[in-house]
């Protein structure tokens, strides 16, 4: 008799709670946009923030609400933007070109002079606060690897000499490293670009020559001898216009006296 009673009480209690919850679930249901969940399933899920929204779910919510522009997801690229456009029923404008980060500096402690030796917190922002870093060149890489630590895909590596390079295959274009770099030596360039200028110095040629062996000395050989290389020297620094054909860029790279035009896919 007693056991039956116990069974009944627990059964009734469970039933009441179950019914109560079922009722509450209906009553307090939060309307969710199904498209947001579908989009979330398509997005890469790296939560890198390249789109400017807090994580993939934030972007999915903004997309389904019509508040965000399609194609901002750089890790997903054209494939993702096409799928998202299909769900939303809008025309796919494409994701734009795939951009990857590039460290515009090949200087290190052997090739570049130092004003002093920095010993402190292993963080570029901290080193930069002290006379803009230990290197005589105030435009270049600080070699402390803050960018490596923010990279969500571990695409940034540092070799034993301190040279920091981005693996263009692994880079998802989230721009986190460009934001954390105090000298802005990391910038984005189109992934199709075969070469890049590995210097960020705006110092005049003679100054660069004194402090760094691999800096751009603004000799204008690339610009004048190879007009189809796409290079233009602006403010003592050669820059490649990736919109131009760039047919002579390999020759220009070979002719560069300080070899600061380097292959971007290394």
């Amino acid at each position: 008799m007693n056991i039956l009673f116990a069974f009944l009480i627990i059964a009734v209690l469970g039933l009441a709670l179950g019914l109560g919850l079922a009722f509450a679930a209906k009553k307090f249901a939060v309307e969710k946009d199904e498209r947001a969940e579908q989009i979330l399933a398509i997005l890469p899920g790296a939560n890198c923030g390249a789109c400017g929204y807090p994580g993939c779910s934030g972007y999915a919510g903004a997309l389904s609400g019509g508040k965000a522009q399609n194609g901002l997801c750089s890790p997903g690229g054209a494939k993702t933007s096409a799928l998202v456009a299909k769900i939303l029923g809008i025309a796919d404008e494409g994701a734009g070109e795939r951009m990857v980060a590039f460290v515009h500096c090949r200087g290190n402690h052997e090739l570049t002079k130092r004003d002093f030796q920095y010993e402190g917190i292993e963080e570029c922002s901290a080193a930069h606060m002290l006379f803009q870093g230990e290197s005589s060149c105030k435009y270049g890489c600080l070699h402390l690897g803050s960018c490596m630590r923010v990279c969500p895909t571990n695409a940034i590596h540092r070799d034993e000499k301190g040279n920091v390079t981005v693996d263009p295959e692994a880079c998802i274009g989230c721009k986190k490293c460009t934001l954390v770099c105090p000298t802005k030596v990391i910038r984005m360039l189109p992934a199709r670009g075969s070469h890049a200028i590995a210097c960020n110095s705006r110092d005049p040629g003679p100054v660069v020559r004194k402090i760094c062996q691999v800096g751009c000395i603004a000799c204008k050989i690339c610009e004048k001898k190879f007009p189809d290389s796409g290079c233009t020297v602006i403010n003592f620094l050669s820059e490649i216009d990736y919109a131009k054909p760039m047919t002579q860029i390999a020759d220009a790279a070979a002719a560069c006296p300080t070899k600061c035009i380097v292959e971007a896919k290394q």
Partner: protein, 196 residues
């Protein structure tokens, strides 16, 4: 006076984590940074307070009159699990901001032994409904206190050169043990000295 005694007892003397060793899972799991520690603490305090009232009602108005007091553990777990689900739904509907802050922690609390612990303790201590509620809130505050202290210690530990073998959870356990030792200083004599 009785309420002050309850608060001092459950916050310091019988602190759920540091002297009863209940709810250790979130103590290690959610104490990595102080922001989530506070979130978890608030959620636990909230659930403990409400669970104390509901379980008191279930025990004294349903189980006791029917002579089924031995079903307390089973029915309490059932009630707490249902309650947490219900609270989660209401918060999600009415306060999305609070849901964002607590959301991940709420389901974790369902199976937290500290909540079941306070419910059973209220029964063994023979509290009335208001005393049960204050005991629930006080236990929650004690839980939050321990969690916040621990998270601050761990945030500082992250910046210190701890040996590799001790990094992370091991050093957290050692710190937790030392904190528990410190909390042993709070005992019944404190209560007698304070309240006479």
């Amino acid at each position: 006076m009785a309420y002050i005694a309850i608060f001092i007892t459950y916050i310091f003397i019988n602190n759920f984590i540091l002297s009863q060793f209940l709810g250790l899972c979130p103590f290690i799991g959610v104490s990595k940074n102080s922001e989530s520690a506070i979130g978890m603490g608030m959620a636990v305090t909230f659930v403990m307070g409400i669970a104390s009232i509901i379980t008191w009602v279930v025990y004294n108005l349903v189980l006791l009159p029917l002579g089924l007091a031995y079903l307390q553990t089973l029915s309490f777990i059932l009630v707490i699990a249902g309650l947490v689900q219900f609270v989660e739904m209401i918060i999600q509907k009415n306060s999305p901001a609070l849901y964002q802050a607590l959301g991940i922690f709420l389901p974790l609390i369902t199976t937290n032994c500290a909540v079941l612990g306070i419910a059973i303790m209220n029964i063994t201590e023979g509290y009335n409904i208001m005393e049960s509620f204050s005991a629930g809130i006080a236990a929650g505050i004690g839980f939050t206190l321990a969690l916040v202290l621990m998270s601050n210690i761990r945030e500082r530990l992250d910046l210190h050169p701890v040996r590799k073998a001790f990094r992370g959870v091991p050093i957290a356990f050692i710190s937790g043990g030392l904190m528990a030792l410190a909390f042993m200083a709070f005992d019944k004599s404190l209560l007698t000295n304070l309240l006479g």
